[in-house]
Amino acid sequence: VKNDVRELEQRVQEAEQRLRKLFEASLEGFGVHEGGLILDVNDTMTTLFGYARAELIGRGVLELCAPEDRDLIAAHIAAGDDRPYEVRAVRKDGSTFPGLVRGRSFDYGGRTLRVTAIQDLTEARRALAAMRAVEQRLQTVVANAPIVLFAIDAAGEYLVCEGRALAALGIDGQSLVGRNAADVWRGDERILANVRRCLDGEEFTSSGPLRDAWLETHFVSMRDGDGKVAGAIGVAVDMTERRRAEEERAQLLAQEQAARAAAEQAQRRSSLLAAASRELAATLEYEDTLRVVPRAAVPAMADWCVFDVVEEDGTVRRVGVVHADPAKAALAAELARFVPDPAAPEGVPRVLRSGRPATYGGLDDAALQPDGDGWPPIGTRRPEHLSLVRALGLRSYMCVPVVARGRTLGALTFVSATDPARYGADELALGEELAHRAALAVDSARLYRAAQEAIRARDEFLSIASHELRTPVGSLQLAVQSLLRGVRTGSIAHTPRGFITNALETMERQSKRLVQLVESLLDVSRISAERLELDLADVDLAAVAREVADQHAGEAVRAGCTLEVHAPAAAVGRWDRARLEQVVSNLLSNALKYGAGKPVRVSVDLAGATARLEVRDHGIGIPAPRQARIFERFERAVSSAHYGGLGLGLYIVRRVLNALGGSVRVASEPGAGATFVVELPCAGPPAGAVASSPGPP
């Protein structure tokens, strides 16, 4: 028995030790108290409160908590309440810590004991606070980040939708939770497709518009433990501002590039035009000016440039072909031999006809082939002309008219040998500006040439007038001096009578010649000033012709001409007799002068209401190119080195006839004489045409 007791005791001891160890090993503080006085504590309790075990045993439990919690503890003990509660525990050193207390009362051999566990909540509290802080921060971040954070389950239902960016979209994130994306975004195929892709397990970023905003959304699939897609998470960033800024930047960049391009273009234009103006201003000589014009365009505006000029007589002359490639200079010079075909529907002829520019592009060798009846889109269809153009190279070109004072002076052709679309609106405007400057220069050069010509003609006229005046004055002077000498020396008594008569007649003729010369000069002055006065009356042209022919009889004899007048019938019209005499006299003098030694015939006839006067000689004649000019002031058909005269006779004839409503023309062959034909309406000048004429009542 003793052994059994001992064994039992031993077992009890062992059990007690096990319990004790368990009691001690607990992380919680344990204490057993009875009636509020501590009976036992474990080591954890001593550590928690900083007391030795002995100090705690026998101590009242209420001493271990803050005074304000003692009533609560007492109430729990009294009530035997075993629900956990928190108190502020007080350590031996007076410091406190939050403690979670749980007590249970039990009966121990009739005694009511209470076991109390206390757990230090300091760390837990700290962790909780920390966790709360993290949560708070996360919530703050999500709520304030300029994003939308959302999660959708595998069925497409919203689990979460948060973020400050929602406000800008006008979406209430909370209201989406529980709704299906398919319902929320019904009709927005882009968003629905993204949701499907993500629920299919794809990770991607998509950007696109939503309402007034632009979102960039990163989609990530949520997966469960087995790796199966359980939903989708999306983070959408509101890129609206950034996109707007980017757009603005792109717009600004584009504007800046456009402005720079425009500035460069303007710079290019102005420097090209300035250079052209400088070159054009460097000369007033017509031919030099024509040569400068196409040079100004190459190479800045064209690989090669052609200038076709319309001369004052209407003929088209190709004055310059300039090529940027010196190796093609010879070919370019070759092209200058070809003048555009006036019949061509396109190219230079069209521009010269219309006075409007034309541009042509997308041309290739095939377009420049002679093609039967058709016309290639340039101003020719001659095979050799076309092959030359192909050799020079032509892919596109523009042709602009050179216009000054409303007249088309020519056309400038700018050619690109390589670019099939070189000439757009800008190039055309530049071409027209260059053509405008060229036109001013060409017009100035023509005016300068005309002025030079006028000055030359005036100088020549002065020289001729001096000669013409001095000749009769010379004869007059010799006659006078000769007679005077005879009178002074007394030799006049022996001077043959014939000589004296001759001298006096010479003097008379020279006086008349001088008066006529002066009259001619005055007529020119009157005609120039439009002050030709007409004294209109009924005049018989046949009678005038006969009388004037009689007056020229002596002159005809001296010239060795027979003078025949054929005026069988009267030809009466309302004309100025003196002026008509002047017309016949001038024509007859010319005929005798240039047809010396050959017969001269004057005839008058009437054709209806028009009188016709013809003066025909068989003299040297007038070459065709000069026929149009002989009626101009100071002009003559032949060199003044051979024939004298003021060069005014035919000019006066034409102007007088114009004033009388009539006309004069010439038919002539060099060496075969000339026939001047005058036509005069018998009714006289049209009403109002002779405003300055006093006229008979």
Partner: protein, 128 residues
């Protein structure tokens, strides 16, 4: 006036080459009145024809601006012919710059229209 058929040689023969009939006539007559034998021609060709028939004037008075053959053309024909090249030539003209024109044809002298009678006689006298 004179005809080419009976042209006397000698130092009192003067050629007047002038296209203006009045001027030609007046010059011829005043010179004839002073005892000169005058051969008148209306242009260079006529003058050349007279010379080639043997006329030998002491001086040729010639206008430059004439039809058919002008003074310059006449002069170049004259100097090309050794028989005629030595005959003195005096240019008569109403133009300005007569001195230069005279020099341009290599003339021996010039008379400007209107010609003063005394100057005319003194000039011709120089070549007798």
């Amino acid at each position: 006036l004179s005809t080419s058929e009976s042209l006397p040689a000698g130092n009192r023969c003067v050629f007047v080459v002038e296209d203006d009939a009045d001027a030609r006539e007046m010059l011829s007559q005043v010179l004839a009145l002073e005892g000169y034998f005058v051969v008148a021609a209306a242009n260079g060709r006529e003058a050349l024809e007279h010379l080639r028939r043997g006329a030998q004037p002491c001086v040729i008075l010639i206008d430059l601006m004439m039809p058919v053959m002008n003074g310059w053309e006449f002069r170049s024909e004259q100097v090309r012919d050794p028989d005629l090249a030595g005959i003195p030539l005096v240019v008569i003209s109403g133009d300005g710059g007569i001195d230069q024109k005279a020099a341009s044809v290599g003339a021996d002298g010039w008379l400007r229209k209107p010609i003063d009678l005394d100057t005319l006689l003194a000039t011709v006298e120089r070549y007798r």
